[in-house]
Amino acid sequence: MYWRLRTYIAWALAISAFLVFAVSDSKFLNAGNLYALVQSFAVIGIVSIGLMLVMVAGEFDLSVAGTVPLAGLVAVRVSEASTVFVGVLAAVVVCGAVGFINGFVTARFALPSLAVTVGTLVLTTGLGFAIAGGQIVTLSDYEAGIALDSPIAELFSFRSLLQIILIAVVGLLFAKTWIGLGIRAVGSDPNRAATAGISIMRTMLTVFIVSGLFAGIAGAMQGVSLAAGVPGDDQAILLQAVTAAIIGGTALSGGRGSTLGVVAGALLLTIVSNGLSLQGTSTAVIQLLNGGILVLVVLVNQPLQTASKRLLDRTILKGKPATV
C-alpha cells in the first residue's frame, strides 16, 4: 500500500519535473533534446533496475561502480581486436562473472554483500587498469558507436531501445514470476524464505548476476558509443542508480521495490539534469536542487507511512474473519 504510494509519488515528481521544463524552456520538447534525455535515461535506468533487484533481495552491489567502466574497457579492447558484437559480448560475460562471484560468495559464506562487493569493486577497478595497461583505450572505428546511437523514430536509438526492452523484460519477470516473488521473500526475511523452500543461493546468484549483466551492458554499450574506455571507478553512476532506486521506493532493508517506481526515479533524475543543463544552470544550483528534491522525498516519507498505516488498519478491520 505505502510502497505503491511511493511509486505514485516518484511518477508524480517525474511528471511534474517534465511539465515544469516543458513549460519553462521551449527547447526542452525538441526531439533532439528528448533523444538525449532518453539516451541518458536508458543508462541510468538499466543500472538502477539491476541494483534494485539486489536491494529487494536485501543486499547491495557496490561493484557496479567497478563493472560499468570495466565493461567499457573490455568492450573497446576486444572490439578493436575483433568485432563490436564480440566486444560487447565479452564485456557482458566478464561482468556476469563478477556478478556470479558476488552472489556465490555472499550466499555460500553468509556474508554481508556490502563487504563482498567492496572487494570485487577494488578487484574490478584493478582489472580495468590492467586492461588499460597505462595506455589510452580507444576504438579506432567510432562509426560503430555512432550507428549504435543513430536515432530511431527520432527519440530512440538501438542502444536505448535495447536497454529499455531489457528493463521491461526484467520488470515483467520480477512482477509476474516465482523468481520475483522469491527475491522479495528472501529480501524480506532470508531465514523464513529458506524455510518456505526458497533457495537463497539461487536467489543471490540471480540478482547479482542480473545486476552484473546490466551494469555490463550499460558500460559496454557506453564504451562502444564513446569509442573509448576509461579506467577507474565510476561512483557517479552507482550513486545515481541508488538514488533512483530509493526515490522509486526500493527499501534498503530489502523485500520491497517496484520496477515502475525505479523507472520513475531514474526518469526524475534524468529529466532534472537534462532540463537544468539545457538552461545552463550552474552546478551549485543543480546540487542544491538535487539536495532539495531528496530532502523532499525524505520528508514526505514519514507522514505518508503513517497515513497509509491508518488506511491499512481500516482495510484489515473490514476484512476481519467472519467468526468475530
Binding site: 567492496v118 587498469f129 537463497i200 551549485a284 516519507n301
Partner: protein
C-alpha cells in the same frame, strides 16, 4: 531413506549460538564482535609477514608514512562506524564534509590554527546534527539524507568559494610536528580519537545505548530508550570527525578546496566494512574501523614496496579484501551455523 543435508545457509533457528565450551570465547568476542576479531588477527598476521618479507617495510620512516597515510581516513572511518553501529548504515556525506571543512579551516586559519580546527570541527558537527535530525527524529532514510546533505553542502560551498582554492592566511605547521620527535601529531590525534571512541563505546552508558539501538531498535524502545537522540549523536560524531579530518588535511598545505578528501567517504566505508563491523547495526566497535583502515593502508603500502604496478596492487588488494571477508564468514558460520 536417509536424508541428505540441505545447504547450511538455511538453518533457521533463532537459538543459534555457541556451544557451552565456546561460551567464554563468545563472551570475550562480544565487545569486538566475532568477525572483527578475526580481521584484527588477520591484520596483525599480515603486518608481521610484511615486516619479515617486504624490504624497507619495517623501517621507522615507512611505518610513520603508513600511519600518516591512514590517520585522516581512519579518523573519518571511526566517525562513520558510529553511524553503522547505531544501525543507520553509512553516511554518504563524509567526503563533502571533509571538503567543506578544508575550506573553512583555510578560511579561518588567519585566526590561529587551533581556532580554525575548532571551527571546522564545529561545522562538521552542525552538518551532522542536521542530517541526524532528519535521519533520527524524522526517521528519514540515512542514505538518501546523506546524499542530499552532501549535495546541499557542496552546492553552498561552491557558491561561496566559487570553486576556488582558499589559501589560509596563517601557519598550520603545529599539526605537522612530531611528538617527542617520533609520533606525528596527526597519528597521535587519530590514536586518541580511536581510543576515546572505543572507550565511550565500550564503557559508557552512551556507548551501550548506541549499541542496543543498533542491535534491535524496537527492543530498545520497549526498554524505554529513545533512538533518535542517539542517531543524532552518531551523526554529530561522524560529522565532527569528518570536520576534524578535513581540518588536518587542510593543515598539510594550509589550503582548502572542494577537491580535497574526495576519496575519504568511500575509503571510510571500506574501512568500516573490512574492519568487520556489521552493517545490520550493533555489532562491532569504532576500533574495528580503525583496524579496517589500517589493514587497507597496510596492503596498499606493502604492495607498493613489493614493487607491484598500480593495477596489480589493486587486483591483489581486491583479492585480499575478499579473502579476509570470506575467512570472517567461514569462521563465524562455523561458530553459529546461521546466516549473518
Amino acid at each position: 531413506m536417509t536424508r541428505t543435508s540441505p545447504a547450511p545457509a538455511v538453518l533457521t533457528d533463532v537459538n543459534a549460538g555457541a556451544t557451552t565450551g565456546r561460551t567464554r570465547i563468545r563472551a570475550l568476542g562480544e565487545w569486538a564482535g566475532d568477525a572483527s576479531v578475526i580481521i584484527a588477527v588477520t591484520t596483525v598476521v599480515l603486518f608481521l609477514i610484511a615486516c619479515l618479507v617486504v624490504p624497507e617495510f619495517a623501517t621507522a620512516d615507512n611505518l610513520r608514512a603508513l600511519l600518516l597515510s591512514i590517520a585522516l581516513v581512519g579518523i573519518a572511518a571511526v566517525g562513520m562506524s558510529v553511524i553503522t553501529i547505531v544501525g543507520r548504515l553509512f553516511s554518504l556525506s563524509v567526503s563533502a564534509t571533509v571538503a567543506v571543512s578544508t575550506i573553512i579551516f583555510a578560511g579561518a586559519l588567519g585566526l590561529g590554527p587551533w581556532f580554525a580546527l575548532v571551527i571546522a570541527v564545529a561545522f562538521g558537527a552542525v552538518a551532522g546534527a542536521v542530517q541526524g535530525v532528519l535521519a533520527g527524529r524524522l526517521k528519514a532514510d540515512p542514505i538518501v539524507t546523506t546524499i542530499a546533505g552532501a549535495a546541499v553542502m557542496i552546492g553552498i560551498a561552491q557558491i561561496f568559494s566559487e570553486g576556488r582554492t582558499v589559501a589560509g592566511a596563517g601557519d598550520a605547521s603545529v599539526f605537522a610536528i612530531n611528538i617527542a620527535g617520533v609520533l606525528p601529531m596527526q597519528v597521535l590525534i587519530f590514536l586518541l580519537v580511536t581510543g576515546v571512541a572505543w572507550w565511550i563505546h565500550r564503557f559508557t552508558v552512551l556507548g551501550r545505548k548506541i549499541t542496543l539501538v543498533g542491535l534491535n531498535e524496537r527492543a530498545a524502545e520497549v526498554s524505554g530508550l529513545r533512538s533518535w537522540p542517539l542517531v543524532i549523536v552518531a551523526f554529530v560524531a561522524s560529522g565532527a570527525l569528518a570536520g576534524l579530518a578535513g581540518a588536518l588535511l587542510a593543515s598539510e598545505s594550509g589550503q582548502g578546496n572542494l577537491q580535497l578528501g574526495a576519496t575519504f567517504g568511500f575509503d571510510a566505508i571500506t574501512a568500516v566494512v573490512v574492519g568487520g563491523i556489521s552493517v545490520k547495526g550493533g555489532m562491532g566497535n569504532p576500533l574495528n574501523a580503525a583496524v579496517g583502515a589500517f589493514l587497507v593502508g597496510l596492503l596498499s603500502n606493502a604492495l607498493v614496496l613489493v614493487g607491484l604496478t598500480y593495477e596489480t596492487q589493486l587486483i591483489v588488494k581486491g583479492v585480499l579484501v575478499l579473502f579476509a571477508i570470506i575467512i570472517t564468514g567461514v569462521a563465524s558460520q562455523a561458530k553459529n551455523g546461521a546466516r549473518r
